[in-house]
Symmetry: C2
C-alpha cells in the first residue's frame, strides 16, 4: 500500500483495523505483512512478536477510554449515567475489550470512572468499606454485562436449532409459566440488552445507595 518507510505506528494501525473488523484470530503476522506490503520479519523488528503486538493494541485501547462525566441530578441517576456511558464505550470495541479482559487489565480501564463513582457514592452518604463495595459492585456489573453481551454478539447465534432436535427451544413450560403467559412470552423473546442493562443497573444502585441513609 504505502511506499514510505514502515513505522511501528503503521503496524499497530493495520493490526487494530484487522482486530476490530475480524477479531484477534484473524490477525496473523503473515497476513498483516501482506497487508502492509512488507516481509513478515519486518513486523518482528517493529513490534517484537505477536503477543506484544496485541499487548500494544490493548494498551492503546485502555488509554483511549478517557474519563467519563456523570450527568443527572441525584447520585443514583449520575451513577447509572456513568455505567451506561461505560457500557457504550466498551460496547464499541468488543474484541479489544475481550482482549483487555483476558490480560487482566480491566481495572485499569475502570480507574477514571472509578473516581467518579467514588464521588457519587460519597455524596450519597456511603463511607469506607461499604462505599468501596458499592463502587466495585457497579464496576463488576458493568463489565460482566458487557462481556455477556459481547460474547453473545461475537458468537454464531443462540441455539439456532440446527444440529440436534432440542427438547424445548424456548423457555420451559412450568406450572407457573402456564399460569402467566405474558411471562412465558417475554422469556421466549430475546432480551433487549440496553433495556435490561439500565433496569438492572437502576435496581442495583437503588439498593446500594439505600444503605447510605441508615
Amino acid at each position: 500500500m504505502s511506499r514510505t518507510v514502515l513505522t511501528r505506528e503503521q503496524v499497530l494501525e493495520a493490526a487494530d483495523d484487522l482486530v476490530r473488523q475480524h477479531g484477534p484470530d484473524a490477525l496473523t503476522m503473515r497476513g498483516l505483512a501482506a497487508r502492509l506490503g512488507t516481509a513478515v520479519t519486518s513486523i518482528y523488528w517493529h513490534v517484537g512478536n505477536r503477543e506484544s503486538l496485541l499487548d500494544a493494541l490493548v494498551e492503546r485501547t485502555v488509554e483511549e477510554m478517557g474519563a467519563i462525566q456523570p450527568t443527572g441530578r441525584t447520585p443514583a441517576t449520575r451513577i447509572v449515567s456513568v455505567a451506561r456511558r461505560l457500557r457504550g464505550e466498551l460496547h464499541a470495541r468488543p474484541h479489544l475489550i475481550a482482549m483487555v479482559h483476558e490480560r487482566g487489565l480491566t481495572e485499569r480501564v475502570f480507574l477514571p470512572a472509578q473516581r467518579a463513582l467514588v464521588r457519587e457514592a460519597h455524596t450519597a452518604g456511603l463511607r469506607g468499606a461499604r462505599a468501596a463495595e458499592a463502587v466495585r459492585a457497579v464496576q463488576f456489573q458493568v463489565v460482566g454485562f458487557v462481556l455477556v453481551e459481547c460474547a453473545r454478539e461475537l458468537a454464531p447465534a443462540e441455539t439456532p436449532g440446527r444440529e440436534r432436535p432440542r427438547k424445548t427451544t424456548s423457555a420451559p413450560k412450568t406450572a407457573s409459566a402456564r399460569k402467566d403467559p405474558a411471562l412465558a412470552r417475554a422469556l421466549a423473546r430475546p432480551a433487549d440488552p440496553e433495556r435490561l442493562f439500565t433496569a438492572s443497573m437502576r435496581a442495583l444502585v437503588k439498593s446500594l445507595l439505600a444503605q447510605g441513609n441508615t
Copy 2:
C-alpha cells in the same frame, strides 16, 4: 496408555482433562493423539475435527449442570441461593464455561435454574414482563460476574507493575478518597469476589422484588 480399542468417549475424556487443566489452547489434535497413543487421524475418525470435539465437550458441560434447588424461606434468599449455587458450579469449570459462552450456549446452561427463578419471582408477586426482566437480570448478573472472575483467574495477574512505571498502582487519590481513608484502603485491596457477589446479588434482588409489592 490403554491398549484397548479407541472409543469416542475416551477421546472426549482425554480432551476434557486437557482443557480443564491447561485450557482450550493446550488442546492440540497431535498432543491429544500422543496422549492417547494413537495416530492423529484416528481422532478425526471419532470426533470429526477439533471444532466439533470442543463442541462435544461444551455439550457435555451443559448437560452436567443439572437443576439447582433453592434453599431459604423468603423468595429473595431463595433466589440468592440459586445464584450462589450457579456461581459455584460455573466457577468449578472456568475454561469450559468460557467456551460455552463463546458458543452462545449460556442460555441453555441457565434453563434449569431459570425455572426455579421464575417460580420465586412469581411467589414474590412479580408478573409478566416485569417478572421476566427480573429473572433475566439475575441470570445476566450471575454469568457476568462469573465471567469477570474467570478471566481474572485465568489472566496472569492484575497490573503486576512489571513493564512500565505506572502513574498510580492503586486507586486514584481524589479529594473524596483523601477524606475517607477507609474507602481508599478498601479500594486498594483486591476485592473478595465471593463476598462482593453475594452483596451485589442481595442488592439487586431486593430492588427487583420490591417492584412486586406495588
